[in-house]
Symmetry: C2
Subunit: 241 residues, 2 copies
């Protein structure tokens, strides 16, 4: 393994282990290079990759920071719904229900648990422009999120992923999504104000932390009458003309 990857792993371990906490700044590149006993170019290459993976954020003149879950990051990295005309907006979230239940096969498989293990099941309604557009069912391991309850969930400030991070030390770093179309069932039709049987999109997301450890399974039901699910592919990096 090349040296810069060794350094990258070490940095990753330090971030994961809490040596550098979300939002805080790392030592300067020259300090880090010195500490690892590598050249500054090698250190930079390690940071380059972590930065491309959204784990670090670099700011010229200021420093390098551990990425934290701002509303902006949520919008651009994890929220894939926008209005048909392209308007992007942070959704407002309404908690519908909070329950402690047993994992079924699907959830257990996604979260690498055993069927029957205790999980928290959180149902949310997401509003865009004051209209209910998405119904989310989040499932997380009760063992991993020990002490989570409805009160803490309601009283959080910021996004759910921000709460995972600040209150449980769990950082969601990326997600896998699989989408399909289906006819809406009665419960969700009611919550989203749709006729029964309307075609809706269902997006199943597994949110991963360091080392691809699954920490949340989410099934989103989207009313795509006025909105689209957007797949943001790699954008070239050309700079201004």
């Amino acid at each position: 393994m090349p040296l810069y990857r060794v350094v990258k792993r070490a940095l990753l371990g330090a971030i994961e282990g809490g040596t550098y906490s979300p939002g805080s700044s790392l030592p300067s590149e020259s300090e880090l290079a010195g500490a690892f006993g590598v050249s500054i170019g090698t250190l930079r290459k390690a940071v380059d990759e972590l930065s491309a993976e959204h784990l670090l954020v670099r700011r010229q003149g200021r420093g390098t920071f551990v990425a934290s879950h701002s509303a902006d990051r949520f919008l651009f990295q994890f929220f894939h719904v926008e209005r048909a005309d392209g308007l992007r907006e942070v959704p407002s979230v309404e908690l519908v229900s909070f329950e402690r239940v047993r994992a079924d096969e699907e959830v257990a498989s996604a979260l690498r648990l055993r069927a029957g293990d205790a999980v928290f099941q959180i149902d949310n309604r997401l509003l865009l422009q004051r209209r209910a557009v998405i119904y989310d069912r989040l499932t997380v391991s009760a063992a991993l999120f020990k002490g989570l309850n409805e009160k803490r969930l309601r009283e959080r400030s910021g996004t759910i992923y921000q709460m995972y991070q600040t209150e449980f030390g769990i950082s969601v770093v990326r997600a896998l999504e699989r989408a399909r179309a289906t006819a809406v069932d009665r419960q969700i039709a009611r919550v989203l104000g749709l006729p029964l049987g309307q075609a809706v999109m269902q997006v199943r997301r597994t949110a991963l932390s360091f080392g691809d450890r699954p920490v949340e399974y989410r099934c989103s039901t989207i009313n795509t009458a006025q909105h689209d699910y957007v797949n943001r592919l790699s954008k070239p990096n050309l700079g201004a003309a």
Copy 2:
């Protein structure tokens, strides 16, 4: 603009202009650096970005090549449907119809044409494991693809994007996709063997060439009974343990 971006633009222009054609190799890094009068590190940074954007492919010991549209590239960069169990497969394509028609508002807007401009409208049926799963309607400008006809389309070897590239000198470099759920209409229901009104996914893709120039508008209708639309997000680059 930093020097490496100047070099990048120059390389991009040379690729776009056909100085280096798809599949062919570029001069070695040291030659290019010499030709541009920059250091090898600066040249490498330009190539790094073009490589990250899938416009160039580097192979240690062999050289740097202009990306071409292989079946593999199609599968990983542009084909987002896989079986629910994760099986990925290059679809087999059956031409359903080829017509020369007038662009409607939607197509014209996507392709930056005027409504009423001549376009080719190509309907394809895509099979996975011998079952029809996707119905594609491709629209391209007749002016841009001058001389395209059903015969040439049928007799192509390889993917459609490969044909765009080799026969028309048009390289699709990235794509934007917006998905929604809808009830299947009669025509497509018949072609995909679905009951009328079944919920299906509809994916509208605008395929872009250099400089974000739109070259194809594609509306895919997907039967998601056994398959999912997958959003491949950034994967970390950790190498083996």
